[in-house]
Subunit: 185 residues, 2 copies
DNA sequence: GTTCTTCATGTGACGTTGTCATATGAAGTA
DNA sequence: TACTTCATATGACAACGTCACATGAAGAAC
C-alpha cells in the first residue's frame, strides 16, 4: 500500500507530462498509469474519471500561473505599465511553450470542478489588480481587463492554430500585444 | 450503387449536424453513418479518415461564412465602419450559435487539408478588404485586421468556455467588440 | 502472535471507438 | 450472357474508458 498522496502526485505529474508532450490524445489512462508506475486501476482511487484528472491538471497549471503573477505583483521595480505587459507576456509564453496545457486551461471549466474554478478566479483577480494599477479608475479596470485578457487569449489561440502567420497579416503576436497596450494606456 | 456525390453530401451533412448538436464527441463514424442512412464503411469511400471528414465540415463552414461576408461587401448601404462591425458580429454569432462548429473551424487547419486552408484564406482576404476600407491605409490594414480578428476570436473563446462572465468582468462580449472598434477608428 | 478490518492497488472483462480486409451486388460494356 | 468496375456492407481487430472484483499490506483488537 503506497502512500495515497504520493500516488496522486505521481499520476497527476504523469498526466501533465503526457499532455504537454503529445496533446490530449496522448493522455490515455493506460499511458498515465504506465508512466506513473502504477496499475491501470490505481488512478480511479484518486480521480472519479478522466475528466476530473484533466481538470486537476488544469487547476494546477492555473495555480502555477497565479504564483508567477504573485511574484510579478510583489516586484516593485517595474512600472505599472511594464507589469501589465509582463503579465500578458507570461500568458502568451504559456500558450507558446505548452500549447496543449494552455488549451486545457481555457477549455470550459465545469462547475463540477470547484478547484479549477477557484484557481481561475484567483488569477483573474490578480490580473485585474495589475490592470487597475495602470488605469487608475478601478471601475473601468474590469471591462478593460476583459478586453486585454480576451485579446491575448485570441492571439495565442490563433498562433497555435497556425492562422496568425506573418505572411498573411504582417505582424507577430508580440507586436499585436504592444499595439493592444498602446491603445489602452 | 448510390450516386457517389450524393452519399458524400449526406455524410457531410450528418457529420455537420451531429457536431453542432452534440459536440465533437457525438461525431462518431457509426453515428454519422446511421444518420446519413449508409453503412459504417461507406464514408471511407469519400473521406480517408475521420480527420479529413471533420476538415471538410470545417472547410464548408468557412465557405458559408465567406458567402455571408460577400453579401456584406456587396451591400452599399452601410458605412465602412458599420460593415466592419457587422463582419465581426457575424463571426461572434457563429461562435455563439454553433460553438462546436466554430471551435472546429479554428482548430489547427492542417497542411493536409488544402480545401480548408483555401477557405480560411478567402475569408481572411475578405475581412482585410473590409478593414482597409475603414482604415484607408492598406498597409496598416493587415496588422489592425489581425488584432481585430484575434480579439474577436478571443472574446468568442472566452464566452464559450464560460470565463467571460458579466459578474466577473462587468462587460458583455458585444460591449467588448464596441470598445475594440472605438479604439481602432 | 494471531485474527480482523481497512483501503490502496492490481486485473480481467465489457461495451464502444476508429479502422481495415474482404464480401456483396448493381451498373455499364463487349 | 459474361466480365469489369466501383460504391456499399460487414465481420474483425486493437485500443480506449470504465467497472467489478481479487489481492495484499498496514494497523487495531484480542
Amino acid at each position: 500500500m503506497e502512500s495515497a498522496a504520493a500516488t496522486r502526485r505521481t499520476v497527476l505529474d504523469a498526466a501533465a507530462e503526457l499532455l504537454a508532450e503529445g496533446g490530449p490524445d496522448a493522455v490515455t489512462l493506460r499511458a498515465v498509469s504506465a508512466r506513473a508506475g502504477v496499475s491501470r486501476g490505481a488512478p480511479y482511487g484518486h480521480f472519479p474519471d478522466k475528466e476530473h484528472l484533466l481538470a486537476a491538471v488544469a487547476a494546477e497549471s492555473w495555480v502555477t500561473l497565479g504564483d508567477q503573477l504573485d511574484d510579478l505583483i510583489a516586484d516593485e521595480r517595474p512600472s505599472p505599465a511594464e507589469r501589465l505587459e509582463r503579465a500578458l507576456s507570461v500568458l502568451l509564453e504559456v500558450g507558446r511553450r505548452r500549447p496543449h496545457t494552455y488549451a486545457l486551461m481555457f477549455s470550459a471549466p465545469n462547475d463540477e470542478h470547484p478547484g479549477a474554478l477557484a484557481a481561475v478566479s484567483r488569477t483573474n483577480d490578480q490580473f485585474l489588480a495589475i490592470v487597475a494599477d495602470v488605469i487608475g479608475d478601478p471601475q473601468r479596470a474590469r471591462p478593460i481587463g476583459a478586453l486585454l485578457m480576451s485579446s491575448v487569449h485570441g492571439i495565442v489561440a490563433m498562433e497555435n492554430s497556425g492562422q496568425l502567420t506573418v505572411e498573411k497579416w504582417q505582424v507577430t503576436g508580440d507586436e499585436l500585444l504592444k499595439m493592444l497596450i498602446d491603445r489602452i494606456a
